[in-house]
């Protein structure tokens, strides 16, 4: 029993990261229907910026908030300079541009900060002795913090999308950009904002999880695969769905990897993809995605 709980907690630790990054993917997708493959690298780069801010003497919370701000602005810049000039129907080119961005950010971070992993301080006590005992396992403050912030961010995004004029404009734009323009919505600005939000959320993920993954250029690579799976599973337009799917994916992969003898750690990633396929075959819009409803 204790072991099962320990495994669920282990899965939760990773699942929270998948869900958080998935949330960033959803931010871009909700606004623009684009998948940003550079999302993970943007988060990684942001974490390094947080490190740089911390290294020049800023307190950790200020460094984290600082990188969120930088991420926010950089997201807008990326949209304006790299994405918008491609036009609204350039799905394939945009995918390629995000791959390019992926490579540039990865190489850039390597050149600037080197290949050795850097220690990144946590916002909460995180020495080995800082934990809450829970059925023989240890709930640590660091993942709890990530989970807490994730819930706050998710709720904030939910409120933004559901109850604000801006959120309404974003949803209208995502659903029918042409109509949105004819309602006077500045569609370009909304797209920018989607990228800014996503990059801000990504920056937060990067800076928050760096203490547990250590700060390296490769830190986000795997997470992005899981996050894309989680966003797909959760339904690409549902923040809550993406987060929940991320967490469930983390737990499921861990439980299956641990208790199904032929899976083990080698096939954990395959488990995630099999779950993804299975769900998509039953519900093509994901678990919580909106079905496209339209009468002829």
């Amino acid at each position: 029993m204790d072991l099962l709980i320990a495994r669920i907690v282990d899965g939760l630790n990773n699942g929270v990261i998948y869900g958080f990054l998935a949330l960033a993917l959803v931010c871009v997708y909700r606004g623009t229907k684009h998948l940003n493959l550079a999302q993970g690298e943007m988060a990684m780069f942001s974490a390094f910026i947080a490190y740089a801010l911390y290294a020049v003497g800023l307190p950790v919370p200020v460094a984290v908030l600082g990188t969120v701000l930088v991420g926010f602005l950089a997201g807008g810049l990326v949209e304006r300079v790299l994405i918008r000039p491609l036009g609204h129907h350039a799905d394939y080119s945009i995918l390629l541009v995000t791959i390019g961005l992926f490579l540039v950010l990865n190489a850039g971070a390597g050149v600037i900060w080197g290949g050795d992993p850097l220690p990144f301080p946590a916002l909460v006590p995180s020495s080995p002795e800082d934990y809450i005992a829970f059925f023989g396992t240890r709930l640590r403050y660091q993942p709890l913090l990530v989970l807490g912030v994730l819930i706050v961010v998710m709720t904030a995004l939910f409120v933004l999308f559901k109850y604000t004029r801006l959120g309404l404009a974003m949803r209208a734009t995502a659903s029918n950009p042409e109509s949105a323009r004819l309602l006077g919505i500045r569609v370009n600005r909304i797209n920018s904002l989607g990228w800014m939000l996503a990059a801000g959320v990504g920056a937060l993920v990067g800076a928050l999880i760096a203490p547990s993954t250590t700060l390296t250029t490769g830190m986000m690579f795997n997470f992005l695969i899981y996050a894309a799976a989680a966003a797909t599973l959760g339904g690409f337009d549902s923040p809550g769905g993406a987060v929940l799917a991320g967490i469930l994916l983390g737990i499921a992969e861990n439980i299956i990897g641990s208790y199904v003898w032929f899976v083990g750690t080698d096939l954990k990633q395959a488990v995630a993809l099999v779950i993804l396929l299975a769900v998509l075959m039953i519900r093509p819009t994901g678990m919580f995605g909106t079905k496209k409803v339209e009468r002829v």
Partner: protein, 235 residues
């Protein structure tokens, strides 16, 4: 002075102009109809006026030049759109569609406006929490008109509101446009194939024939001669 003044406007999609030298005006408080058979260029005219496609020539709203404004800016200046095919935002609920229509205007009165349109089109009120994609064609057309009106525009453009609707619904819809014009003094430019119904509520009309617009004539004039039939059915 005309509320909307278009002078010598040409427009098209890429190669070749679909519209050539169109001149048209709408006065405040007036309903004007542009009639035309299928393929005459009615929707192109609408999209050119609303800035959705590139155009050349003069386009003025209340004396302000909007020929180079973007589509969203034109709406913000008070020229609201009911696009062809209704432009329903299918993932939003009926009420969210209406609220989206009011995004461009600041200030209060949102609740009153919602109320007004729910009263005008009670069927929308019944379905306010439904996804707009589930509405019938007629309901979506009502939604499109209400949504455009939620921006409290100076003028309304309607692109073929009768499209795909039964004669009865078409009749009902035009009656409501007439009421909007009467009660709010709203200027409306409507392009429409269904000439008889449109002419019934319009003061003046234009006839669009493969890209060129004739002179405006009083609505009754059209009703009494054969020009539309000729334009629509040949010879």
């Amino acid at each position: 002075m005309s509320l909307l003044r278009i002078d010598d406007m040409s427009a098209g999609y890429g190669a070749g102009d679909v519209l050539r030298g169109v001149t048209l005006s709408v006065d405040a408080g007036e309903i004007v109809v542009v009639l035309g058979a299928n393929g005459a260029g009615k929707t192109t005219l609408m999209r050119a006026v609303s800035g959705m496609i590139p155009r050349r020539g003069t386009v003025e709203l209340d004396g302000e030049d909007i020929a180079r404004s973007s589509a969203d800016a034109i709406v913000r200046r008070g020229l609201a759109q009911v696009p062809q095919g209704r432009g329903t935002i299918v993932d939003l609920t009926v009420e969210e569609n209406l609220r989206a229509g009011a995004l461009v205007r600041k200030g209060k009165g949102l609740a009153e406006d919602l109320d007004r349109w729910y009263t005008t089109y009670p069927r929308l009120a019944e379905r306010r929490r439904q996804k707009a994609g589930l509405l019938s064609g007629g309901e979506q057309q009502m939604l499109a008109i209400s949504r455009a009106m939620m921006s409290r525009p100076r003028m309304l453009l309607c692109d073929e509101p009768s499209l795909g609707l039964s004669p009865l619904l078409t009749e009902e819809l035009f009656a409501s446009l007439s009421r909007i014009n009467g009660e709010l003094g709203m200027a409306i430019l409507v392009v429409e194939q269904n000439a008889m119904i449109a002419l019934e509520i319009a003061r003046r009309g234009y006839l669009l024939e493969v890209g060129s617009l004739g002179d405006s004539r009083p609505a009754d004039d059209f009703a009494s001669d054969d020009s539309i039939r000729a334009a629509y059915l040949g010879q």
